[in-house]
């Protein structure tokens, strides 16, 4: 039990995907303009990442390892993630058109979101068990969501600020992300796995 909690803390705070591993920067910068969109994206990513890490673990353990096809890992995982995202996209389109519009191109972008592929590959690398994989995927997504939502709040505030012309838009967003990353360094060493 403690081990699982540590996996979660580690994935959410210490080894945060965005701020310490620098994965998933594209949606992090792209969908953080507004709090509502960021929340929607967070849920989508949480859903996809948890499912993707589960599915990829299953495929890895029951297909790739027995058949000795480890070299097909990446292509298999991409296939899984791509079809998962497609499926979710159709689902959201049906159930919540506004969220669908808000996520816009970012939903398909999750397909090639390195965070999703990263979590699948890292699971394999770290030789996590089934529960570990699921939790690690979920935790990574939770960390992504946490940071994304915090960042969108900050950006909404910066939106009102008279930022000098040279720093408007992405520059100030990147500086802010850097500051957040600095702050998150405070967590380093919090959990030793």
């Amino acid at each position: 039990m403690v081990e699982f909690a540590l996996i979660l803390v580690s994935a959410v705070l210490v080894n945060n995907y965005v701020l310490t591993k620098f994965l998933g920067i594209c949606p992090f910068l792209g969908v953080s303009n507004k709090l509502e969109t960021a929340l929607g994206m967070s849920f989508a990513v949480m859903f996809v990442m948890t499912l993707a890490s589960t599915a990829s673990w299953l495929v890895q353990t029951y297909v790739l390892v027995p058949l000795d096809l480890m070299y097909l890992q990446t292509i298999f995982f991409i296939l899984i993630i791509a079809s998962l995202v497609q499926f979710i996209e159709m689902m959201i389109h049906k159930t919540s058109p506004v969220l669908y519009q808000a996520l816009g191109i970012f939903l398909p972008l999750i397909t090639t979101n390195c965070a999703v592929l990263g979590v699948a590959l890292l699971n394999v690398q770290q030789k996590q068990g089934f529960m570990g994989s699921v939790l690690y995927g979920f935790g990574a997504a939770l960390g992504f969501a946490l940071v994304l939502v915090l960042f969108s709040g900050l950006r909404e505030r910066i939106e009102y600020a008279p930022v000098p012309d040279a720093f408007k838009g992405s520059p100030v967003a990147l500086i802010t992300a850097g500051m957040m990353s600095l702050a998150f360094m405070g967590f380093s060493g919090l959990v030793r796995l």
């Binding site: 495929v59 297909v63 058949l67 000795d68 096809l69 097909l72 292509i75 298999f76 296939l79 899984i80 079809s83 497609q86 499926f87 159709m90 689902m91 389109h93 049906k94 058109p97 506004v98 519009q101 808000a102 996520l103 816009g104 008279p162």
Partner: protein, 194 residues
């Protein structure tokens, strides 16, 4: 050899399974119609003026929802409407092509009116009353100021007047301070697409 076979079969099989699932999903989650049209139409000012190049607000909403039209064609809606549509569609705001003019209202000089009813036919919101061979009058409260009635009038007796400012409808301007002006400058910069 068996390794390659296994690879081909497993990958192919997996891809096929995924394809089947997606095909089923496509059937199950098919979306009828486009709910976005209604949402966009609700944002438009309903002047039915046609300045966007479409014969009314609804057709423009349909075009935007289909992705055929840009979000910045609604002139009377101005900056605000453009931003709302852009938000809804999840696209970048675009600068307006034309500044919205002050709200207008049509006025018929009744002594010159010949009662031809052409303007009545042109009015998209039935804001002109009158019968053949009778004077026509604009119901000022219903007029959207679209100017569609001006062209058809054979005797040019329709004027577009600026809507008078009512004391009840007066609203406070922004404070006259540097900060407030800064906000304005920021909005203008946004409108220029920078």
């Amino acid at each position: 050899m068996t390794g390659i076979l296994a690879a081909v079969v497993s990958l192919g099989g997996f891809a096929l399974a995924a394809g089947i699932v997606l095909a089923i999903g496509h059937k199950v989650f098919r979306v009828e119609g486009d709910p976005m049209v209604e949402k966009i139409d609700a944002l438009l000012p309903q002047t039915q003026c046609g300045q966007c190049g479409y014969p009314g607000c609804k057709p423009y909403a349909e075009a935007v929802a289909r992705g055929e039209a840009d979000v910045n064609h609604c002139v009377p809606g101005g900056e605000r409407t453009m931003r709302q549509i852009a938000d809804l569609m999840g696209v970048e705001p675009k600068p307006l092509e034309e500044e919205p003019a002050a709200p207008m209202v049509a006025f018929i000089r009744e002594d010159e009116c010949i009662g031809c009813t052409l303007c009545i036919k042109a009015c998209p919101v039935d804001a002109i009353v009158g019968a053949p061979k009778q004077y026509h009058t604009v119901i000022a409260d219903h007029c959207t100021g679209c100017t569609l009635c001006v062209e058809p009038c054979p005797v040019d007796c329709i004027d577009m007047l600026v809507k008078p400012e009512l004391i009840e409808h007066w609203s406070w301007p922004l404070p006259n301070t540097d900060r407030a002006r800064l906000g304005l400058a920021r909005r203008e910069a946004h409108a220029d697409g920078t």
